[in-house]
Each structure stands twice: as C-alpha cells, then as structure tokens.
C-alpha cells in the first residue's frame, strides 16, 4: 500500500505529460467555430455582380450548401480557386461566395479572368457578415444544412485532400438527412 502511494507523483507526471504532448500536435490556427449548430446569421447584402440586387439569408435556404469566404487580396484563395472550379463543374453541392472586404470591380474582374465557381456571390465590403460569421481570415468555408444551420466551419483553403477526407463525407451525410426529411414530409402530407 505504502509503495503504491509513492507512485502517485509518477502517475500525475505521466498524465500531465500525455496532456502536454498531445497539445504539441494541436493546430492553434484551427479554432472551433462558435457558430456550428447555429443558423446562418441574418444579412442583407448586394450581389457582387449587380449592386441593385439584394440578397438575404432567406434566398439561400432549403438545401445543403457551402458558403466560401474569399477575397482578391488573399493568396490562399487563389490557391483554392482552381479546385473550387472543378467542384462547381461536378455540381455536387452549390457553393455560395462571400466576397469579403474587397473591391467590387477587382473581384468581378478576377472571376471573369479565372472563372466563377459560385452559384451566387454576396458582396460583403466592410466584413459585416464576416464578423457575424466569426470569420478571422480568408478563405473559410461553412457547410450549411437544409434547415439553414451551420454544421461545420473549415478555416483554410479547400484542396482535394480536405474535400475528400473532411468536407464531402459531411456534405453527403447532410444531403441524405435532407432527403429523408423530405420523404418524411411527403408521407406526412399524403397521410393527412
């Protein structure tokens, strides 16, 4: 018994050691989003290509989609762009762009030159929507389910690995959820 007590410091040391060792491999840049599980914040902003067209979050509801925060001043967005174009061609899920703290002319020019992967582009020149989304850099991507709830936030550029390992499995799962919910609604409708 007495011998066992002598081992307590060693055990404490090991537990702390494991804790700190694991901490070494955490990415401090990867913050949890406070918005996961919450609805997309209310906004009313103009369309990037046309200042007269206003877009609010009610225009986005009803399906699983990805919101991608990007800007022309952001080098990682340029790196991500070709892959987003590929994804857009596959038509797996709509991608909405949020043009963040940018200049309208420059952003439109960039899209005409490099191609436009976005189903719709929302212009957020002073970062108001970005602030409500808790964006602290670009690019950041939010996966939203069919109820308009943010389910996942990914900070950093999307590439093939991130897409295949992290984002697409979740998108597929959410799309399945949406499909079953719709089926449920349909059977309910016929029953009543």
């Amino acid at each position: 018994m007495k011998k066992l007590i002598l081992f307590i410091p060693l055990v404490l040391f090991l537990v702390m050691g494991i804790f700190l060792y694991r901490g070494l491999y955490l990415n401090p840049q990867q913050l949890d989003s406070a918005l996961e599980g919450k609805p997309v914040p209310e906004f009313r902003l103009s369309k990037l290509e046309d200042a007269k067209v206003m877009i609010s979050n009610h225009d986005l509801k009803g399906q699983v989609y990805i919101m991608n925060v990007w800007a022309t001043w952001c080098p990682s967005c340029k790196y991500e762009h070709p892959y987003l174009l590929q994804l857009a061609q596959q038509k797996l899920v709509p991608i909405y762009g949020i043009n963040y703290r940018d200049q309208r002319g420059m952003a439109v020019q960039e899209l005409t030159r490099q191609g436009d992967p976005y189903s719709l582009n929302i212009f957020d020149p002073d970062g108001k929507l970005g602030l409500d989304l808790g964006v602290y850099g670009a690019p950041e991507s939010f996966i939203v389910d069919h109820n308009g709830i943010i389910r996942f936030r990914y900070a950093g550029p999307i590439d093939m690995r991130v897409w295949n390992e992290t984002i697409y499995p979740l998108v597929k799962q959410l799309q399945q959820e949406a499909a079953t919910a719709q089926q449920g609604n349909a059977t309910e409708g016929t029953a009543s």
Binding site: A34, L35, L131, G134, Y136, G137
Partner: protein
C-alpha cells in the same frame, strides 16, 4: 559611472517611449466621453485577437482586430453592458477570445487545478512532517542483542 548611468536612463526612456507608441493604435474613433474611452479600452484589452492569437485586439494591427475593437467602442458608447459585449464576441468567435476564461464545468480544472495541487502538496508535507516528528518523540528502543553489542563496543573504546 555617471556615463553608464546616463546610458542606462536613456535606454530605459527609449524603451518606455517605444512601448507607449506601439501601444497606441491609430484609430479615428470619437468617444462620447472620456470615461467611455477608458472603459472601452480596458474591455478591449481583455479580448484576444482571433487571428494573431498572442495579442489583444487593441495591440493587434490585423483587420479583424480592428473590426472587433471598433465594435467594442461602438457598443460601449451605445451604453451596452460588459456582459452583453462579451456575449457578442463569444457568440461569434467562441471562448477563445477571452483572455480570462469563464468559470464553468469545462474550465473547473483550469481554475481549481492549481488550488487542488497546492492543497495536495500541503497535505503530503503535513503527513510527512508529522511522521518525522512521531519518530523523534519515541525513545530509542534497543533489543537485548543490540544492548549487548553496544556494551561490547563501549568496552573496546574505553
């Protein structure tokens, strides 16, 4: 000696000035009154910049930090309470923005861990000391064999 002192004083002054300069961000925000300004600055200093991570939002030059401190200034001027402002920040950027984490189930170990360790140490020390003292109090007991050995040794050294 005097020269050395002069160099030292000027160095201290220079560092002091540099610190003051770096700690004053160039913001064009007009507060309603000075009390609001002092209070808003104090509050903003307790919030961490989510992008740069090792600076508060007053010190940081990143655009997000600027947005956040402007938001704090505006909310203070609008008469919002501290808890409302902190709620605004944490609902967007999470607990991470607080330099001083809140006391809740998740952070108990953070707040109470050091106290628990201190108490544990004190307990160990207490038991250890009591044991030592217990030994000292007891008169030394020698067996008959020991007694005999002792007597022999004493005889030899006479």
């Amino acid at each position: 000696m005097k020269a050395l002192l002069r160099i030292l004083t000027s160095a201290v002054l220079a560092f002091g000035l540099a610190y003051q300069v770096s700690a004053t961000p160039v913001d064009t925000y007009q507060f309603k009154n000075e009390a609001n300004q002092v209070h808003a600055m104090q509050l903003a200093r307790s919030l961490r910049c989510p992008q740069c991570q090792n600076q508060d939002i007053v010190d940081s030059a990143s655009p997000v930090a600027k947005d956040l401190r402007m938001e704090v200034y505006k909310m203070v001027d609008a008469g919002k309470s501290d808890s409302e402002i902190i709620e605004f920040m944490t609902s967007r950027y999470g607990e991470f923005v607080l330099y001083k984490p809140r006391l809740e189930t998740k952070t108990y170990i953070l707040w109470l861990g050091p106290v628990a360790l201190l108490l544990f140490g004190a307990l160990v020390a207490f038991i250890f000391i009591r044991k030592q003292r217990g030994h000292a109090d007891k008169p030394a007991e020698l067996s008959a064999e020991d007694q005999q050995q002792l007597a022999e040794l004493l005889k030899q050294h006479k």
